[in-house]
């Protein structure tokens, strides 16, 4: 085939430059492509297959002969008490996941915006402050989660208990991470604490690109700090805020480690990734686990389609 093309161009002895470039490119990128496809894209497709089969520990080594069960895994997940919404006392994993990821993402965005606005002001030691602000994001999740648990320790020797008792806000020590509602709230705060640096860096980069003459013009018109923020800064940040919201929402929705390490998924904090983990590695019902993961992915994709087709479109038009 290549020879035929070469003959037509009139270079019988050489492979065309274009073909050589393509071949080189593929040989350079194939190891990466192979690993990523083999270990990400293929497993993702494979997990659709798994979600329709009955796979347990005993037939894990022989998955391809696993019995087909149709939608049974899905209906098991949808009817599970850990999944279903059953009133305000027990939200179920689906509603908890949605509430948690939306509020956590929003809070992360707000904290990141405030941090970026601070670091955009000139002050002594700004470089150092900026470096310190990034630490929660780069520190290992296991150690930060356990420090938080130790600070929120239910005994009187826990820091938060001690501080609140000393200032007289509470009389007896509280088990913060073992109280329904409070636990979810603290996880949301933890997420914002750990992930605001990502939002901060993206916002900061955008802030530094804002045309300064806009502010100068506003000064001439006698605008105050608030109206400059509202009418100049925010509109300039609109697009980057929208992008961060989408990215962070995706990652927060998929987050497993943080919640698993902080509460183990108890006390009203059972989100879909934790439920998936429990189906797969506690009940060892891999088919049901895969079905839960597919439901998670479906919710995520539906949301992203809505978001991209409404919010992002408006941003682009503005």
């Amino acid at each position: 085939m290549a020879e035929l093309i070469n003959k037509r161009i009139g270079k019988p002895h050489f492979q065309s430059l274009r073909a050589r470039e393509t071949r080189l490119a593929w040989s350079l990128i194939s190891p990466t492509a192979l690993i990523v496809f083999g270990l990400v894209v293929f497993p993702a497709i494979f997990s659709i297959w798994i979600s329709f089969h009955d796979i347990r520990l005993h037939n894990l080594n022989d998955v391809f002969h696993a019995p087909f069960v149709g939608w049974e895994n899905y209906s098991k997940v949808l009817q599970d008490f850990a999944f279903k919404f059953q009133g305000w006392q027990s939200w179920g994993a689906a509603v908890t996941s949605i509430v948690y990821s939306f509020t956590a993402t929003l809070l992360t965005l707000i904290v990141g915006l405030i941090a970026a606005l601070i670091l955009n002001q000139p002050f002594k030691g700004r470089g150092l402050a900026r470096a310190i602000f990034l630490i929660p994001y780069v520190a290992p999740i296991v150690s930060v989660a356990f420090v938080w648990r130790w600070i929120l320790d239910p005994r009187a020797s826990g820091v938060l208990n001690d501080v609140l008792i000393q200032i007289g806000a509470i009389d007896l020590p509280k088990a913060y991470l073992a109280t329904r509602g409070l636990a979810l709230l603290l996880i949301i705060i933890f997420e914002a604490w750990r992930y605001f640096p990502f939002a901060m860096l993206m916002i900061l980069a955008r802030l530094q690109a804002v045309d300064n003459t806009l502010y100068e013009a506003a000064d001439v018109d006698g605008a105050n700090t608030w109206s400059k923020f509202w009418y100049i800064t925010l509109p300039e940040l609109q697009y980057v805020l929208g992008a961060i919201f989408l990215l962070r929402l995706m990652w927060t929705f998929n987050k497993f480690d943080d919640i698993f390490l902080l509460t183990g998924g108890g006390f009203g904090t059972k989100v879909l990734p934790v439920l998936t983990y429990e189906f797969s590695f506690r009940l060892f019902d891999f088919g049901r686990g895969a079905a839960a993961a597919m439901i998670l992915l479906a919710i995520l994709i539906i949301f992203m389609l809505i978001y991209v087709s409404t919010v992002m479109k408006n941003v682009e038009e503005a």
Binding site: I29, I35, L60, I141, S143, F146, L247, F256
Partner: protein, 313 residues
């Protein structure tokens, strides 16, 4: 000179007060915006730094100090009790943490090295060569951002078990298997970071090399790589950090205590029936400090990578 003095006096109304006392000075310096800035900054710095202070200081406390009725905010002395439990074989509840540090190193350093090598080739192709299917390839590699780790771990587990049963290796308690899964998680990021960097290197330099008779490989080795050292270092550190911090895959794939990486070991110590927070904090300190210092030392180079999605988290 005389003219300068004459004109400066009236424009500085606080100059007189400034000499009088510091409080007056402060009260003039502090305006509302500055006050709010200082307050917010203090709030942020305390909120960020206190947990880390608490981690390090708790690791130097004794069991008595940890288990007291009230927290000890400032340890009276540096007590090495917790560290002795981690490292001293003579200690009754010796944790042999050294081996876990070693396991983490055994996993993270190969991940970093292999990821940098593979991503360099891939990124060169993406940044410099034109080929069919490039965009489809790039977009599908980006898909990794969409899939949660818990979704992938089930099929991965089943797949690798299947392959292992044929070739004869175990999925569980196999550090190379863990390294390969980490590669899958880090390669997309590494590829994007490096490709972005390669695009900033003027291609004329490389073309000159090609014209002078260098092969593509020769150009990568002699021209592109030396110019890209800062990017290579930051990609290496990112992939190292991701592997060093990773919890879920190590948690599922490792059962043998002798093969636990640090995060899994710390989780085990934490869930021990007799809680010993000082030991957990000591182990966490050992795991956290190298990463944080590495990051702070190279912050200038690493920051760009963070916004490029350097750490999927």
């Amino acid at each position: 000179m005389a003219n300068y003095h004459y004109s400066e006096e009236p424009t500085n109304p606080y100059r007189h007060n400034e000499r009088q006392n510091i409080i007056m000075h402060l009260s003039h310096w502090i305006t509302w915006p500055r006050f709010i800035l200082a307050l917010t900054l203090t709030f942020f710095l305390t909120g960020i730094l206190f947990p880390f202070y608490w981690m390090v200081s708790s690791s130097f406390k004794t069991y008595a100090e940890i288990g007291g009725r009230r927290p000890v905010y400032i340890p009276s002395a540096l007590r090495w009790e917790a560290y002795r439990e981690l490292f001293d074989p003579a200690n009754p509840s010796f944790q042999n943490f050294g081996i876990n540090i070693l396991n983490s190193i055994k996993v993270s350093i190969p991940t970093a090295i292999v990821a940098v090598i593979l991503a360099t080739f891939g990124a060169y192709a993406v940044a410099r060569l034109r080929f069919r299917g490039k965009n489809i390839l790039l977009n599908s590699i980006l898909l990794i951002y969409l899939f949660p780790g818990v979704l992938l771990i089930i099929p991965l587990f089943a797949m690798i078990a299947q392959i292992g049963a044929h070739i004869g290796f175990d999925v569980q308690d196999n550090l190379p298997v863990l390294i390969v899964t980490y590669l899958a998680q880090t390669l997309p990021v590494a590829l994007y970071m490096l490709a972005n960097y390669f695009r900033t290197i003027p291609s004329e330099v490389e073309q000159a090399g090609l014209i002078d008779g260098c092969s593509h490989m020769g150009v990568i080795w002699r021209i592109t790589l030396p110019l890209a050292i800062p990017a290579l270092v930051s990609v290496a550190i990112y992939t190292f950090m991701i592997a060093w911090n990773e919890f879920l895959y190590a948690f599922v794939f490792l059962n043998d205590r002798a093969l636990f990486t640090m995060p899994i070991k710390i989780n085990t110590i934490f869930n021990d029936p007799s809680p010993r927070p000082h030991v957990v904090m000591a182990a966490s300190t050992i795991m956290t400090l190298p990463v944080v210092f590495l990051f702070l030392a190279l912050e200038k180079y690493l920051e760009q990578g963070l916004t490029a999605g350097g750490v999927k988290g």
